[in-house]
């Protein structure tokens, strides 16, 4: 069930009403409803995959309790590794099995050895990468004694499967979400309205930005060899906005939906295209994943402590794993590698923490403004080059795409087979970025203007734009739900 489907439009109000007006006697009934609703939500794709979530939940619930009671460090380590092996084992099998088999065969073929191993027809369960990381964070936190294990199974199962963020995040930490699930929630009108506003903003980004650009992006990337440099640049820029609209739109709807149920999820995006260097970009893009890797991989590996060489190694590890997390394809690994290379200069020069406060500077110094604009544009260009790896079907395609960008400089009048009017999209993206700049300091309340009339005007404008850009013929699924 996707957030932008009719099913969800029926499902959400029913669950909302039941949650606040029927199951509101105590926490247990509220959590039972959350759990049932979450399983229905997930089972809507394929009920068979529910067994995976249920199994993961049972394993990590039991291991959590064992970790909490066990005193011997060796045994605790074993429990932790059982959790890691089971969770990553599922992920590895469903997501990476065929990739490893095919890469293995390719490698042997390259050296002249004929190896015959058949790949399996494996269907990737929706959101497996997200809930696997969420449940892993719980066992790791309990192992590190940063969190007390819960004995309330329903609450724990509701935490693992909480439907607003189950399929595409944000990847929540047990330390943030679990205490909220263990506490009785009360209907808060302001919080609900904030949630609805975020949902509207997320839906706008999905329908108007991502979905409307997707047919143009698909056409350009599928036929890139027939186009010239300007068209391919346009395709890459449009994809940059498509993926941002798609994924951050999903996150906003997820955070907004959670607010309707009295639960606050972490922010996942903070206007990443306003970043002034790559380090800042990664503090603003898919925050829940980058902080997960920082806390559970980068820091345990030593982080930036120790020698520079060790720091560089850790950076490459974290970016390569992050790329690989996105999918079983060399394109994602290259994307990760590319970002590691981009990150390196600021790490070596010590500027990776320069914009740590996350606020886009709005001082009135002319030079500062020019420098900010220059840095923002440069960062956006570099990130967009990286998106070419991410979007291309194969690694060869991505290099050829980039080669054409840098070699085939001829003007070409691009016409999409459906004849979309391109000027509409340029104007749209320009105003979108201006609006993002206006709301740059408040990603959790993008329509939170003090003046009621201004808010009403923005509501009308957003819905009107959705009407203008709604395209019945596009695939409306979310890109990140495939990961």
């Amino acid at each position: 069930m996707f957030f932008n489907s009719i099913d969800f439009a029926v499902f959400l109000p029913i669950v909302f009403i039941l949650y606040w007006f029927t199951f509101n006697q105590n926490i247990k009934t509220q959590n039972v409803l959350v759990l049932i609703a979450s399983y229905i939500f997930y089972g809507w794709w394929d009920w068979r995959f529910l067994s995976l979530i249920v199994f993961s939940t049972l394993v990590d619930y039991t291991l959590g309790i064992l970790l909490g009671t066990e005193v011997k460090e060796t045994k605790r380590k074993i429990y932790l590794w059982i959790s890691i092996i089971i969770n990553l084992g599922f992920l590895g099998f469903f997501k990476y099995y065929n990739f490893f088999i095919e890469s293995f065969v390719d490698a042997f073929t390259f050296f002249g050895q004929d190896v015959r191993v058949t790949s399996l027809k494996i269907v990737l369960p929706a959101g497996i990468s997200f809930y696997t990381f969420q449940t892993l964070s719980y066992t790791i936190d309990v192992y590190k004694r940063n969190l007390d294990p819960t004995k309330k199974f329903i609450a724990f199962a509701a935490f693992i499967s909480f439907f607003p963020q189950l399929v595409a995040g944000p990847i929540e930490r047990a330390s943030n979400l679990l205490p909220q699930i263990l506490k009785k929630r009360k209907l808060n009108y302001e919080q609900s309205i904030d949630g609805l506003r975020l949902m509207l903003w997320g839906l706008f980004k999905k329908v108007v930005i991502a979905d409307s650009l997707s047919p143009i992006v698909n056409d350009i990337f599928e036929n890139y060899s027939t186009h010239s440099s300007p068209v391919l640049i346009m395709g890459a820029v449009f994809f940059a906005f498509q993926i941002y609209g798609d994924f951050s739109g999903y996150s906003d709807i997820a955070i907004g939906t959670s607010k309707l149920f009295g639960i606050e999820l972490m922010s996942n995006f903070k206007f990443p295209y306003l970043s002034r260097n790559i380090a800042e970009f990664w503090r603003r893009w898919h925050i829940s994943l980058s902080t997960w890797f920082r806390d559970y991989l980068y820091i345990p590996l030593g982080g930036s402590r120790g020698s520079k060489i060790k720091g560089i190694r850790n950076i490459f590890v974290i970016f390569l794993v992050s790329g690989f997390w996105h999918g079983a394809n060399w394109t994602f690994i290259f994307w990760g590698l590319f970002h590691a290379v981009l990150f390196l200069p600021s790490f070596l020069c010590g500027t990776n923490r320069k914009y740590i406060n996350n606020n886009v500077n709005s001082s009135f110094s002319f030079l500062k403004i020019v420098s900010n604009i220059y840095n923002t544009l440069l960062t956006f260009i570099l990130v967009t080059v990286g998106w070419v790896f991410f979007r291309s079907a194969t690694i060869t395609d991505s290099f050829t795409y980039l080669k054409i960008i840098f070699t085939k400089f001829s003007f070409e009048h691009y016409t999409h087979p459906n004849g979309y009017r391109l000027i509409d999209y340029f104007i749209l993206l320009l105003f979108f970025m201006i609006y993002e700049y206006i709301i740059r300091n408040n990603e959790r309340n993008p329509i939170g203007f003090k003046n009621e009339y201004v808010r009403l005007f923005v509501y009308i404008l957003l819905v009107f734009l959705m009407l203008l850009f709604y395209d019945d013929g596009v695939d409306r699924s979310f890109i990140y739900s495939q990961f």
Binding site: Y189, G419, Y420, V463, L467, F469, Y470, D471, D472
Partner: protein, 331 residues
């Protein structure tokens, strides 16, 4: 709580009213003329209506139409024919009707520009099939008998689904409820954009699932053999229709006493079956095939969000007709 709910309701109403206003201000909605069944039993547009046909969700194509006294979109107020002048009629569905262009730039106007001595009359009506086209020609025999050539646009895949003439159910859509809904331009626009299609499809599939589930449970209770599931809506069309189309064509030609000397079929050969084309050849039906010239042009020949011909497509059709008339050497 009550205050909050009423505030929410007021906001929603203001939002809907504002959207209605914006759709009207920017004239995003499509306008459709009213239909009727005339004294000959021919379905046409009510005469003397003017409006704008709009396609695409950002007003991507606008065409002004003007329904004449006869009930068709045309530059001519009235249709008359005489033995002394050369007249050609083009009969067809929405492709010939041409709401997706200005009526002053129709295929007939394009043909007349190249052949000033010939008058081209258009009889295009959205949804007409071959039986309705032949019924029109027969019903208005007094007009068509003096017309030198009648070019009938036949869209093979759509127009031969029936072998007999029946009054269509399009007029039955003109219910008071539909008329009322059409007053909201926001609803008209949203419907044209396909916003309600997903709801409609969902209802159809839910009904199908429910029927299947109820049938299954009923049979399980009565311990009977489980019958086959009802045919899914989309499976019903997966039948090869070529033999049916050919049979329907033969039947209609016979019923309406098709004039092979005067009538010419305007066809896209690439859509037709081999059997159908060979039947036409063997029985000396006059045809114009525009497929080859359509394929010669790389640029798009159809509109955005619409399968109708764009300006280039219409130009190609007009040129084909001009070539045909020149070759026929009408006097």
């Amino acid at each position: 709580m009550k205050k909050n709910i009423s505030k929410f309701v007021i906001y929603s109403i203001v939002l809907l009213l504002s959207l209605e206003l914006l759709v009207r201000i920017f004239h995003l909605h499509n306008e459709r003329p009213e239909r009727y069944l005339d004294e000959y039993g021919v379905e046409k547009w009510i005469p003397n209506q003017v409006g704008y046909s709009i396609t695409g969700n950002r007003k991507q194509n606008v065409g002004k139409y003007r329904i004449n006294n006869f009930g068709f979109n045309s530059v001519y107020d009235n249709y008359e024919s005489s033995k002394d002048s050369i007249e050609v009629a083009i009969v067809g569905d929405s492709f010939i009707e041409g709401f997706h262009q200005n009526y002053t730039n129709s295929i007939s106007v394009m043909v007349e520009k190249q052949l000033p001595n010939i008058k081209v009359l258009e009889f295009g009506y959205a949804g007409y099939n071959f039986s309705e086209e032949l019924n029109l020609i027969k019903s208005y025999n007094h007009l068509f008998k003096d017309i030198d050539r009648v070019i009938i646009y036949l869209r093979y895949t759509d127009d031969l689904t029936t072998g007999e003439y029946k009054v269509s159910n399009r007029l039955s859509l003109n219910t008071p409820m539909n008329r009322l809904l059409k007053k909201s331009k926001l609803i008209v626009y949203a419907k044209d954009m396909g916003l309600f299609d997903s709801v409609k499809n969902k209802l159809i599939s839910t009904r199908y699932k429910l029927t299947s589930a109820i049938g299954f449970i009923k049979n399980l209770i009565s311990l009977r053999k489980i019958p086959d599931l009802p045919v899914k809506p989309y499976e019903m069309n997966e039948v090869n229709n070529d033999s049916i189309y050919l049979a329907n064509f033969k039947k209609l030609v016979k019923t309406f006493n098709y004039d092979k000397k005067k009538n010419v079929l305007l066809l896209d050969f690439s859509l037709c079956s081999k059997e159908f084309l060979s039947y036409l050849r063997q029985n000396n039906f006059k045809t114009i095939n525009f497929d080859a010239n359509f394929k010669k042009h790389i640029r798009p020949k159809i509109l955005i969000y619409d399968q109708h011909w764009n300006n280039l497509g219409r130009e190609i059709i007009a040129n084909e007709i001009v070539e045909y008339i020149k070759n026929e050497n009408l006097k």
